[in-house]
Symmetry: C2
Subunit: 254 residues, 2 copies
Amino acid sequence: MEYTVQKLGLLAGVSTRTLRYYDEIGILKPARINSSGYRIYGQTEVDKLQQILFYKELGIHLDKIKDIVNSPSFDAAAALSEHREQLLDKRLQLDKLIANVEKTIASNEGRITMKDKEKFEGFKQKMVQDNENKYGKEIREKYGDDVVNKSNEKVLNMTQSEHDEVTKLSVDLLTTLAEAFKTGDPAGKLAQKAAELHKQWLTFYWNEYSNEAHAGLAQMYVDDERFTAYYDKDQPGTAKFLRDAIYIYTGMKQ
Amino acid sequence: MEYTVQKLGLLAGVSTRTLRYYDEIGILKPARINSSGYRIYGQTEVDKLQQILFYKELGIHLDKIKDIVNSPSFDAAAALSEHREQLLDKRLQLDKLIANVEKTIASNEGRITMKDKEKFEGFKQKMVQDNENKYGKEIREKYGDDVVNKSNEKVLNMTQSEHDEVTKLSVDLLTTLAEAFKTGDPAGKLAQKAAELHKQWLTFYWNEYSNEAHAGLAQMYVDDERFTAYYDKDQPGTAKFLRDAIYIYTGMKQ
DNA sequence: TTTAAACCTTTACGTTGCGTGAAGGTCAAT
DNA sequence: ATTGACCTTCACGCAACGTAAAGGTTTAAA
């Protein structure tokens, strides 16, 4: 089946302007241009547009989507199952928001009381997600287009010994961090050693390292409950402590 | 509890820039300005910000949110239970998308086949929602700020006799439409009578009527599966037929 | 056959919701 | 008294299109 801009637009629920824009920025080129200069799309483009819309739904920026779907190593099947995971995540977040609104209603009716902080639960998660998206873009801008793809490759191509090493590193990090936390001084020797170990651990996953990126990740550890829970498991406040240590280590504040 | 920009920003997960912008456009003014010119927010503002974020989550534009939350007749409790409804709707839509991605995976693995149209299920619903938002904005721009609120009031304040009348109207509409559909001519007398009845029915819900708005709604009947299912129940194609009749009746095409 | 409606094209300016400096004042702690 | 983390007001930048404007193409009806 072949489609003109409007046909494809109607099919997919996007405007003709959007399709022209996607052509313009090189994210979705038509299969061919007919003799009158009309854009003609085919089966490949239909499937690609679907992928694009999935990524968009997940809040990914178009330039990032472009890199992903146009990458020669793009694996549509893998992308789809990741979409599934992410959409399920998104639903969990939505459930939090629904819980929030229901709690707020109960609170307004005087049935329960609610702290200010609780009133924004479910919103924050979204912010972390946005940061992750933005983050990927920044790396891309600073270090070129292939870094993010390479990052994934790096994990996949890790040998057994590398895997062992990284595991040992993360154990070292956790014990050092636990000891450092007891000193209470994020600028102290132990804390700075922990930050250093964290950097080493990080370089297993990133090809390029930068202070900003490191500091950014540290902040994420505090913002994202999953990470906070992981680091705070034994001693609450550890995630924050690690962040402060990294701030000092990298010389960054924000 | 009192908050400065950064405190409130951290609490709610928004940037300080956002809070200043919300002040600038008049959507969320601080409770007071202290002697140094700092913005100070109180309890009222915390709750209002929560409301704003709920509306934002639902994809409502800021100028519309402004109208809503600043309206003297704004009912926070009612708004919250509407948020709940909408969030539940949103979750249903997400479920559709998840079903879509799972079907696509199955299709790629050759376990099922999938029509192009099916590949975009779950996305389209969102488009309708966006149209509704845009739509409300257009009405607001054209007829002033109170029309949308009044529209809700109108439904709530309907007397029993009015309710009976509107019920009768919708029955008339359906029978006339069914007959008109058999003629196959949306410009014909019967079809135009149906369009007229539809207009009368509409004026029970809208205080202000316009050809554009009417035509817009007609298009929605075709785009939104819930409406299509309703009108096509006995004779498939009726929703489209009604749209065409309304296009002719109103003299609109798009 | 012509003519109107419904397509398509490119070009180009407008919009929303902020991000991101710059330049400078305020406050708390050392 | 100085440093660093706050705060302020401009003011420009940006993404992802929306929305004409001006004009060529296709289709179907008169």
